[in-house]
Symmetry: C3
Subunit: 171 residues, 3 copies
């Protein structure tokens, strides 16, 4: 059904569906739901009330805080930080009850990017390596590497300094 690595703790109220792989030294919080065909690396934490919609790839040393919604097909690379209630979306044209098809494109959050609390990442958007998205932002364009974006809609507001890039923790 699913594979769980060593030293990984899953709270009793979390719901892990079929064909989910979780690495070692991970933590899955209360009331979190992980849907099928999701792969999570080692040393990652997903806190309470998160919804991982399925077909999601999450790397190593990732931190995903409470109430995050990770749309189906999202890719979250190593070292990413997602603050409380941040939201990855994947549906460009809502097609419910319409004759056309929805355009589905999930976000891609690259190595060491940080997304602050309450941000919304629109369908198909890429957040570049080590970039930072401010709290409550709505990001509807790709964010290049090493940039600071915030606002609604978010715009470039600064750059990441050399001492602010992600380094793998020693453990």
């Amino acid at each position: 059904m699913y594979k769980i690595g060593e030293n990984t703790k899953i709270e009793s109220t979390a719901i892990i569906e079929e064909d989910v792989t979780i690495g070692s030294n991970c933590y899955i919080g209360h009331y979190t739901i992980i849907r099928p065909h999701t792969v999570i690396g080692d040393n990652s934490e997903i806190r309470a009330y998160c919804f991982i919609a399925g077909n999601v790839t999450i790397g190593n040393f990732v931190r995903i805080f409470h109430y995050c919604n990770i749309a189906m097909g999202s890719i979250i690379e190593d070292g990413v930080y997602m603050g409380v209630r941040s939201l990855l979306t994947n549906t460009r044209r809502i097609a419910w009850g319409r004759s056309y098809k929805a355009q589905i494109a999930a976000p891609h959050i690259k190595l060491g990017a940080r997304i602050a609390s309450g941000a919304i990442i629109m369908p198909g958007v890429t957040i570049g390596t080590n970039s930072l998205v401010g709290a409550g932002s709505l990001v509807d364009k790709d964010v290049p590497d090493l940039q600071i974006w915030f606002g609604s809609p978010a715009k470039k507001r600064g750059t990441i300094q050399a001492d602010e890039v992600f380094k793998y923790p020693q453990r």
Copy 2:
């Protein structure tokens, strides 16, 4: 206590309170709470972590995604789509600990309207037939039929084309 139609699936962790009516071919997700005196039609889905506050009327062929908050007294007509974490509110003047009374007025979401993820609909607001509210919007005025609104506060940004109106699915 409550009435549930045929072929309706309610996840084991959902909490359905007294005097709730749910039609046939519905789905109620994990950790969703449906409070008393709520009526839900046929062929509707309410996904995980939704809070349906009670005295709510939800039509047929409705899709309500994760973490939606539906304020007491809300009316949601047939074919409505509410994206992840959208929020219907009903309290105009917060009266907690004050000598006056709160002004309570719930939203009314009309036939085939679509509300994208993370939008907030303010008390008493009507979203017109087949209209579309963008992600992360704050809607504090009535939206007429067949319009596209987004932003915070939301404004009119476009119109819905003839091929974008809701049609009842054949099933």
Copy 3:
């Protein structure tokens, strides 16, 4: 482990961790998590799906609605009202995988303040006595007493009248 006062109701799905003190006549809703070293006064309600991160102080006659996230170390005084999905944050510089330390500073919400639905209160911000924050606001500065602020970022938009100050309910 924890102390609970008289006439306090805790729903069966709430998770109360160690060293939590809750006064009398309180209500703790479904799926709410209260982490260690939190103290809650009398006559307060915390509704469903709230995350109280620990080391939090909550006063008397407080109302905290669904999906609120209360960051570690937050102080919430008597008579405060927090609408659905409002969010107190405490991390100024996200330090995950970086060589510096995060700057942690929790919000302080003073007597009788009201925070409407979906607002985000940034780290270290104080909301003054009896002040009101509008729905969906992002508050990144201290709000003085008796003021109305809203927007993203929030600004002063008005003042609270003398008949709008919090009075302790008689019960």
